[in-house]
Symmetry: C2
Subunit: 484 residues, 2 copies
């Protein structure tokens, strides 16, 4: 049975890059709206390529992308199937992606992703997804106790709305924590609590970006949801190269007003920004009255050397908005992050939060405040630093042992993931698709590029070690290396 | 000592309405940035009026406003003082309100409130603030048990980000709850969970409003934070009169694209929209392809008659986005609300939430899902309906007994507050200021008008009965009536 007969795929007569995009988009839409049912077997790439009049390489690339995104599954020797693990909500939601936009809707300004579901890889046995911490050793019993205590306090007081800036106890605790661990000089007044880093990006964009006018620089490569928050706010986003010293400050366009960087552990490459570049970036910001958004998402986990000062610490011109999150040091389900805001931005930022959702849930904030104040956060970070350090060592050894000559590890000594350039001719999304079929999940570095499907897109792999056990690592990397 | 000597208040040479605004704004700024310290005694209005060259009535009105907002305290026979209960965070934040806007900041488009703190009345002994429920009888022990259980489940699973649309179990529970209690026909797929109604308004504005172009109608009077969310999104907000049958549909301007209404219990007047008006509104929306945002914030609490069908229930053209909240039926610290979205809006709404803050905290969502599914929400609502019903009866009796001829109660048989028109010559903010000095907190209806200080602003009082005990009510209303 050839399920694609009825799919009515129509292709533009354009160059092969557009063709790949279209084939990929239309196949995905067919999966999401149920025209291609879970478990359905797809025709061989050769067959389908002929029928659609595209090259077999284009067809292979489209299958690879869908495999790497988890929409398809390849079974060794048995062909390619529609995955039956695509989350239901994603299905339901995406039915709309094939219909025309209702005229009542306003575009969200997120290129190509307006009505499409987020592309996310699905979990597997050997799970190297990035940005997810290990919660196996998290002291949930302590959290439960602190949470119960906070709830009892809430129960005693009459109902009321709370401070949009965040609970005072939590801001106090965060200020002490970042002053101590990151030498970020601040008090509770400087902290604005947010619903994770994503809300921090959105609120900062809200108060810094004039829609259609403000030029914002992000690193190339970058965290896709950061760019989406910026473009959704109407920013003109430009990408600026990153080398072994971090962001190439001299490549910043003069008209840039906001610069988003991950100096402690560049996302996703892991590069640490050098002291010279930090000084140059701050000088640039000062000279041009630009704002730096410093995203310090996982620098609690350092495995060598002394941490470099945060940009916020070095800043003498109130140029830096420092964004922190508890999604990596605790767990993402918590949805708590914060901004250390310079004085001139604070009132607007608080007001923007108030307009967005008034304030965050009180219970989680109070529990976290006590968790930090009683030293549990610092203890948990110390404990996890050892766990992640051991995994990182195992990963580096495995990559050296099995990947030498094919995988070039990018030096990095912090965070929850490592990245490596691919030195074989194979494209990273092809490797990722093959790996998915072999039960290994990891993201291709091209996913973090402005145009993942461009011929010149970066070619590499990222290895998160939040979800994978130390003992699994060597075997998984060995199997992965065999696929290169 | 006259602390105002050094305040350098500068007044425009304009009409008295502008003068009042300026005097009010500058005095408030002086309090907020500490130039006027807590406990400082203010000069007599006559003295200050002379010194500033304004009429004594203007000065009195400015003091009244500051008293009603809680910035000043009047001690009987002892003059007027700066309150020492202005929350610290409000102080810290508002220091900025006297400085010029930093050129790096983008205006938030919220008229007059860009850098200013939210005006909110402060609690008192007899607290008639609106929109706040009684949590004294809330089963926090059950909540704690369900929360603990949810936390244990989270602890068992590897860390991951969750569904931006909301946890499936919660959407399922909400869908059944509103289908049952409000005859709002929907399934879990139609529900988008939000961080309270405020985020729902913001996200709907995000997907429905073209900045600077889209005309949005709100009721006159209205909930100020709703208008702020709309104007912040760039909407051109128009107000449309409300009479005894609800929104005057025939007064909607033809170019309106979005219409925000509170048909079950108009905020703040309490009027219920008649069936004829409901039909007319839906016909209008259908004919003009406009969208209706139905804010059903407290209709769980009904004290007489059969509830009228929700607009969402009557809608046959997918025109209605129904907004619900758990801030009134449970407690506001939870920050959970939802939208029942028509199919054409759902994907965009989910995507807007994902861009805003990815998803809500999982723990609170899971606890609420179990709380609803196990019947605790329905039970709590039944219990509180009796409590609030008794308070409402006591309030109606007290208003009839002590306020007859001076306070005209607006008929209403649902919700957590009642409103009444003032039939004396006194302005509502003057009454509110006097009441505050007597330990009674309640909002003036003029606060919910487009221009609270306009001479033609509505003149009345709202009485919330979420925080005030049944036995307090008669005494408080008697003391209030004596002030009229």
């Amino acid at each position: 049975m050839e399920p694609l007969f009825e799919l009515a795929i129509r292709l533009p007569g354009a160059g092969s890059r557009d063709l790949l995009r279209e084939v990929h988009r239309q196949l995905r839409a067919a999966i999401l709206d149920g025209r291609l049912q879970p478990g359905a077997r797809l025709p061989a790439t050769r067959t389908l390529a002929q029928r659609l009049g595209v090259s077999r390489n284009t067809m292979l690339a489209a299958y690879d992308l869908l495999l790497s995104e988890g929409y398809l599954l390849a079974r060794a020797g048995a062909g390619t199937y529609v995955a039956d693990t695509v989350p239901l909500s994603r299905r339901g939601r995406a039915v709309k992606s094939t219909t025309r936009r209702d005229p009542r809707l306003v575009p969200l300004n997120v290129p190509g992703a307006d009505l499409a579901p987020t592309l996310q890889s699905l979990p597997s046995r050997d799970d190297f997804r990035v940005g997810l911490p290990d919660t196996g050793a998290f002291p949930f019993d302590i959290w439960r106790r602190l949470s119960d205590r906070a709830l009892r306090r809430i129960a005693r007081e009459p109902a009321d709305y709370a401070d949009p800036q965040g609970q005072a106890a939590l801001r106090e605790a965060i200020a002490r924590h970042v002053s101590f661990t990151r030498a970020v000089g601040c008090t509770a007044d400087d902290i604005v609590v947010t619903a994770g880093a994503q809300q921090a990006f959105g609120l900062l964009a809200r108060i810094l970006v004039v829609p259609g006018r403000t030029v914002v620089a992000v690193e190339q490569l970058f965290y896709p949801s950061l760019r989406e928050a910026l473009t959704a706010a109407g920013a003109k986003v430009v990408t600026v190269p990153v080398d072994a010293e971090g962001l190439c400050v001299e490549r910043l366009p003069p008209e840039v007003r906001v610069i988003c960087v991950t100096p402690s552990h560049q996302f996703p490459t892991g590069v640490v920004m050098s002291p010279q570049r930090r000084a140059a970036l701050l000088a640039f910001a000062r000279a041009r009255n630009a704002v730096v958004i410093e995203d310090d998402y996982d620098s609690e986990f350092r495995f060598a050397g002394r941490p470099l000062d945060a940009l916020q610490t070095l800043d003498r011109a109130e140029s830096v908005c420092y964004v922190g999150t508890f999604s990596k040091s605790l767990f993402p389900a918590l949805r708590l992050g914060f901004v250390v805001a310079p004085p001139w931005a604070r009132a607007s930022l608080v007001r923007a939060r108030e307009l967005a959702d008034w304030h965050g849930p009180v219970l989680g904030q109070e529990a976290l405040a006590a968790f930090i104040a009683e030293g549990h956060l610092a203890r948990h970070i110390r404990k996890m630093r050892k766990v992640y350090g051991a995994r990182r060592t195992a990963l580096l050894e495995a990559l050296a042992r099995h990947g030498a000559g094919r995988l070039d590890v990018i030096p990095s000594d912090a965070g929850l993931h490592l990245s490596a350039w691919l030195r074989t001719g194979t494209r990273d999304h092809t490797v990722v698709a093959r790996a998915a079929a072999a039960g290994i999940t990891l993201p291709p570095l091209s996913r973090f590029a402005p145009d993942p499907q461009a011929p010149g897109a970066p070619n590499g792999l990222a290895f998160g070690y939040g979800l994978v056990g130390e003992s699994q690592i060597d075997g998984a990397i060995r199997r992965l290396a065999a696929l290169l």
